[in-house]
């Protein structure tokens, strides 16, 4: 299995899973998975429903602890940390939940400002930051609305704004386009590209849609033209465009079935992988 070529060998991984196993009453869900996410890399966790994609993200955020194996994030072993230490540590991580997971009892502005309000930051300093984060997702007109007044796509976008408010170096996306129409899905993917290419975040993106992964691999956000552009096909221009590489990781029955570059996945003759390519 290949790893992304443009990562420098001296860099240490941002997220590292080592023989991670976790299970519940119903049985074991992850059966010894190991992988690494390097700085500025986007790893696409691809798999059918129930293969452990969301669990992997929750393990990476320390929301769950593995039954065996280890999870290291930013060089820290999450198992050895107490819940109190983890709460502080999670401020380094942005998490975009599948349905947005916005707080029903708060309006959009308070949802986005949540982390800043928790840190008891001066309200006058919070307001412009919230407005900027909402402008990033093009929803600055929704500040006073409550989540129930938003559409599914808008809720995801607010959730992305909430995740980026503290500029975390790592963002975990749990099926950000699940259940959305193609146009809204494209809007969400564009936002994720912008987040990667403007703020340089390292990302772990769980999805069952292959096209999300290929969009991350084949496009980049050009700040000069303020547009999403296709990466150059080859040569130095391509290397310049893919400074934030994308790698696929296919989960099947709790194990890693495939790990490699988009080209390797697209060129694979494996019958199971071809099901995703159709």
């Amino acid at each position: 299995m290949a790893t992304a070529t443009s990562i420098e060998p001296s860099q240490s991984p941002v997220i590292e899973f080592d023989a991670v196993r976790i299970g519940f009453e119903e049985g074991e869900v992850l059966r010894g998975i190991s992988f690494q996410v390097m700085p500025r890399e986007t790893v696409i966790l691809l798999g059918e429903t129930g293969t452990g994609k969301t669990l992997s993200l929750k393990l990476a955020a320390g929301l769950l602890k593995p039954n065996s194996g280890s999870v290291h994030v930013l060089g820290k072993n999450l198992q050895s940390m107490s819940e109190r230490e983890l709460l502080r540590f999670r401020r380094e991580i942005g998490f975009v939940f599948q349905e947005g997971a916005l707080f029903d009892s708060m309006d959009v502005a308070d949802n986005v400002a949540y982390r800043l309000l928790e840190e008891r930051i001066n309200p006058e300093e919070i307001e412009p930051q919230v407005r900027e984060a909402l402008r990033f997702v093009e929803l600055d007109h929704t500040m006073d609305l409550v989540p129930s007044e938003l559409s599914g796509g808008m809720r995801r976008r607010v959730s992305i704004a909430r995740a980026l408010i503290t500029r975390p170096p790592i963002v975990l996306y749990d099926s950000p386009t699940a259940g959305l129409d193609p146009v809204t899905s494209q809007t969400i993917i564009t936002l994720i590209l912008r987040l990667r290419d403007i703020y340089g975040v390292t990302a772990l993106l769980a999805t069952h849609r292959l096209q999300d992964g290929f969009a991350m691999a084949n496009f980049h956000f050009d700040q000069k033209s303020n547009r999403v552009l296709a990466n150059a096909k080859n040569g130095a221009a391509r290397n310049a465009d893919t400074h934030a590489p994308t790698r696929f990781l296919v989960l099947r029955e709790g194990e890693i079935y495939f790990q490699g570059s988009p080209e390797e996945l697209a060129g694979s003759n494996d019958q199971y992988l071809k099901r995703f390519l159709l």
Binding site: E25, R84, R90, R91, Q98, D104, R115, E118
Partner: protein, 280 residues
């Protein structure tokens, strides 16, 4: 496993094995012990959180408003009519012996010691334990609790402690008001039904109470408030099975907290009577 009550210890993977009666019983017993352990952990944590920040004052005030002010109408209405019924029932018996003046004593002692705290506890449990369980359960199934943890907030501090503290503070106040309007109802029934004078009723009602009765009547609601809030929070935060699970948890929260309130009442009554004998 994370040292948080929300990843319950009962969720360890278990080996596949054949089904047997003893196996099912042992598993049920283990599950029960694990649930009691998780509940105890959550209940203890709700109080130890008070020792260290951050504290959520606004959430506490919101919960005090919801549990205290929100429960006021049902507590006052039921309290008043319980006082009326008590007088009607006891008064008819006392009249047979020509002792209808004793009604004030009996109603006062029964209300302050027993009926006020217990019935208020059960009514507030019916309203608030259900509300807490369904609210927290819905937050859990829509991943809002995980989102909170992912953003560096301890849900036991933000969600559990304000609810438990609000119930602890509000339950004695609600009980005091229920006792008072119960006596008002009793007074009205005495005047209109037994033809006693209001002054006589109040004089006897107040003189019948000693410090031990008041202590008993105010100690119980603190315990009942703790029970209804912790059970509501525990059932809400351990919901499994989506929205159907939320409905189940809500029902269980009311049933368990009501039964626990009655059971706790028995032991607290015994304890209070023992203390009254020893101290007063």
């Amino acid at each position: 496993m994370a040292d948080t009550p929300f990843q319950v210890t009962g969720q360890q993977p278990r080996a596949e094995s054949g089904i047997s009666v003893s196996g099912v019983l042992i598993n049920s017993a283990k599950q029960f012990v694990a649930n009691v352990q998780d509940y105890s952990h959550l209940a203890a944590q709700s109080l130890t959180n008070l020792l260290r920040g951050p504290h959520y004052l606004q959430d506490l005030l919101d919960q005090m408003d919801d549990i205290g002010v929100g429960s006021l109408p049902i507590v006052l209405l039921t309290g008043f009519f319980i006082g009326v019924v008590m007088v009607l029932q006891t008064g008819s018996q006392f009249t047979r012996f020509g002792q209808s003046a004793l009604t004030g004593d009996v109603v006062s002692i029964a209300l302050v010691r027993e009926l006020g705290p217990t019935l208020t506890g059960i009514f507030v449990a019916g309203r608030c334990a259900a509300g807490i369980a369904s609210e927290l359960g819905s937050m859990l199934v829509t991943e809002q609790v995980d989102a909170m943890r992912a953003m560096g907030t301890d849900p036991s501090r933000k969600l559990v402690t304000p609810r438990v503290l609000a119930a602890l503070l509000m339950q004695p106040l609600l009980t005091g008001l229920a006792d008072f309007v119960g006596l008002l109802g009793g007074c009205a029934a005495s005047v209109f039904s037994l033809r006693l004078s209001a002054v006589e009723f109040w004089t006897r009602a107040i003189h019948a109470l000693d410090f031990g009765d008041i202590m008993q009547g105010m100690m119980k609601p603190v315990a009942f408030g703790f029970i209804l809030a912790t059970v509501g929070c525990y059932k809400g935060l351990t919901v499994r099975g989506g929205t159907q699970g939320v409905g189940r948890a809500t029902t269980q929260a009311v049933v368990i907290s009501s039964v626990l309130i009655i059971v706790a009442d028995t032991f607290l009554t015994k304890l209070a009577l023992f203390l009254s004998d020893k101290i007063f």
